[in-house]
Amino acid sequence: MATRGGSVATASRLGEQVWSRMNKVNGELFALTYGALVNQLLRDFEDVDAINEQLEKMGYNIGVRLIDEFLAKTGVSSCESFRDTAELIAKAGFRAFLGVSAEVGGWNADSTAFSLMLADNPLTEFVELPPQYRGLYYSNILCGVIRGALEMVQIRVECRFVRDVLHGDDVSEIRVELKERIHDEMADEYKEG
């Protein structure tokens, strides 16, 4: 049954439901696997910016596939506004796949940009960033996931970390900015005259 993406409460409830029905994997194994991945990237690329970009790309590939599972499991059809989209990502999406909810905040004047605040991040469970990797956004994969998932529902965004617990801040913050709503264009040969 399709439900409209609505208030915070709805999103939270959806998230809880999906989370409870998901197959769980061991949190430590998850964190260690991701850590090994980042470590390998460090060996392959060495340049911190290149690694950030790679993580984002990987996230994008995950996101474009994850969105289908999310939509199927939650039964959400469409959101009325970008605000609803934000709540859905933070409360339902994060909760369903990571087990932790994020807070939405930092809306700009025309509601086209918001921030996701993450207090708890299962990816960074054992991580302590050494000083030479200051510029590394360890969890940048999450930015890619959001971008990839939204692109599949015709919303183009840009995501980046603005605060990170690993860099000493008290919460991790991902800034999500709406760039455009994608309208599927008909290919030329189908257009009339």
Partner: protein, 160 residues
């Protein structure tokens, strides 16, 4: 020859004689030093390190003797007890089945059970520290979180 790894030693404060635990050392499989906490000034610290080093031979003997045939099933098995008196100190050992060795140097007599608990805690903290993906195996542990946790645990122990 094995490359010398850079060792990190953290120091304690004044009045060291009053506190029981003088030093806690983490030594790896190949006897490489991973982290040492020691009381006192530079000279004192170096001296304690030296003592730990000498005790390693005893640990190896004990490890072979205690564990031949038996499997380590709990931290009680890992705790070796007092290894040998050295000068005015006593040294206690703790070996894990990955051959991680913990050495504790104490001044006067200590509550063995409490020391065993401390070493178990230290072991647990170490395990957490090495789960950091940025830690390279068999190198010195530079995690600040680990170092401050160890300091706290030792302080708590010495305060009893």
């Amino acid at each position: 020859p094995r490359p010398r790894s850079r060792l990190l030693v953290a120091g304690g404060g004044e009045g060291w004689w009053a506190m029981s635990l003088q030093s806690l050392a983490f030594v790896g499989k190949e006897n490489e030093p991973l982290y040492i906490w020691a009381q006192g000034d530079e000279a004192q610290q170096l001296h304690l390190q030296f003592l730990c080093h000498s005790a390693l031979d005893v640990v190896e003997e004990r490890q072979a003797a205690t564990l031949s045939g038996r499997r380590i099933s709990s931290s009680s098995d890992m705790f070796l007890g007092q290894l040998c008196p050295l000068e005015e100190y006593r040294i206690f050992g703790y070996v894990t089945n990955t051959s991680l060795k913990l050495l504790a140097v104490t001044g006067d007599a200590v509550n063995e059970q409490a020391l065993k608990d401390l070493m178990k805690t230290a072991h647990r903290l170490f395990v957490r520290a090495v789960q950091n993906p940025f830690y390279t195996a068999s190198t010195a542990v530079s995690s600040t979180r680990f170092q401050s946790s160890i300091r706290q645990a030792v302080a708590a122990f010495n305060a009893r």
